[in-house]
């Protein structure tokens, strides 16, 4: 189960950040913030490597003792970061990819919502 999910805009400020255990939220915010550096490193590495296949999914960014952090970048440079509990080793790469795909679909739907101004915080009543 994902423990924390964050959507970060092109200018590196968070559009949406939500964690499941409501206590100790600051720790997750800090982890997401530090993972942004790793994301930027991967993006610039992709730019220089001239690889033919440039994927949107970035993979495991860095593991800590309790959690693993995964990243994903869209074509509009919006980053999705997901923090997952390490104790659940049954989570395969495919499942993480499908979680990111669903997240990307929901983000696209938000962009198409005429009442949403790009750049605002994403709010949901549920």
């Amino acid at each position: 189960m994902a423990v924390c999910v964050a959507v970060i805009a092109k200018e590196n400020y968070p559009l949406y950040i939500r964690s499941i255990p409501t206590e100790n939220e600051l720790k997750f915010h800090y982890m997401v913030h530090t993972s942004l550096d790793v994301v930027d490193e991967k993006i610039s590495a992709m730019g220089k490597a001239l690889v033919d296949q440039r994927e949107l999914y970035l993979g495991l960014l860095y593991p800590t003792e309790d959690y693993k952090v995964y990243g994903y970048v869209t074509n509009s440079k919006v980053k999705f970061v997901m923090v997952v509990d390490s104790s659940n080793t049954a989570l395969r790469d495919n499942e993480i990819r499908s979680m990111f795909r669903k997240l990307h679909n929901s983000y696209t739907d938000v962009m198409c919502n005429p009442f949403y101004n790009p750049g605002d915080r994403i709010q949901s009543r549920r």
Partner: protein, 174 residues
């Protein structure tokens, strides 16, 4: 399917509505209406820029983004591809100070020989003055899509003879 017709009718109504309130506005009023149309196109372009390149891989350079505009965006909105894409890079010096670098401004000219929103009107020089109203939304569309993909630009349109029109995209490099 009736899809292309739906968008064309909606667009015609949008233009008609904005001009119906003041059938012969002075230059100031006309500019506001054009800005409103362009703004609408911009927002739609931002959403399309998010939705269309979903499964495509990351764009490697500017030309890839422009090619995407000509092929995928045009096909999605107008059900045909853009007829030609030309580059016209100019080197412009902003200030004449010693030691400044000349910043190159990428200019691309996208040409469509039978633009669907103009094809229904006339074929030739009739209605040449009315044409800009029908192009403002599309200019905004291009600018919005480019801005989501990370490119700041300025888009202008010109018509020599209906229904062929040219969109000039000037990319502003900071």
């Amino acid at each position: 399917m009736a899809d292309p017709a739906l968008f064309e009718f909606l667009h015609t109504e949008m233009v008609a509505e904005l001009w119906a309130q003041d059938p012969d506005p002075g230059p100031g009023g006309q500019k506001t209406s054009l800005l409103v149309l362009e703004g609408m196109g911009f927002r739609v372009g931002q959403a399309l820029g998010e939705r269309l390149p979903r499964e495509t891989l990351t764009f490697r350079e500017e030309l890839d983004i422009l090619k995407f505009l000509c092929k995928d965006l045009w096909v999605a909105v107008f059900h045909k591809q853009m007829d030609s894409l030309r580059t016209n890079h100019q080197v412009q010096a902003p200030l004449r100070l010693p030691g400044t670098l000349l910043c190159p401004q990428g200019t691309y000219v996208l040409q469509d020989n039978s633009f669907p929103l103009l094809v229904r009107m006339a074929s030739g020089l009739q209605y040449l003055e009315e044409a800009p109203k029908f192009l403002a939304f599309t200019c905004g569309l291009l600018r919005g899509t480019l801005s989501t993909l990370g490119v700041k630009s300025l888009v202008t349109a010109s018509v020599a003879a209906l229904p062929a029109c040219k969109f000039q995209v000037v990319i502003q490099k900071l």
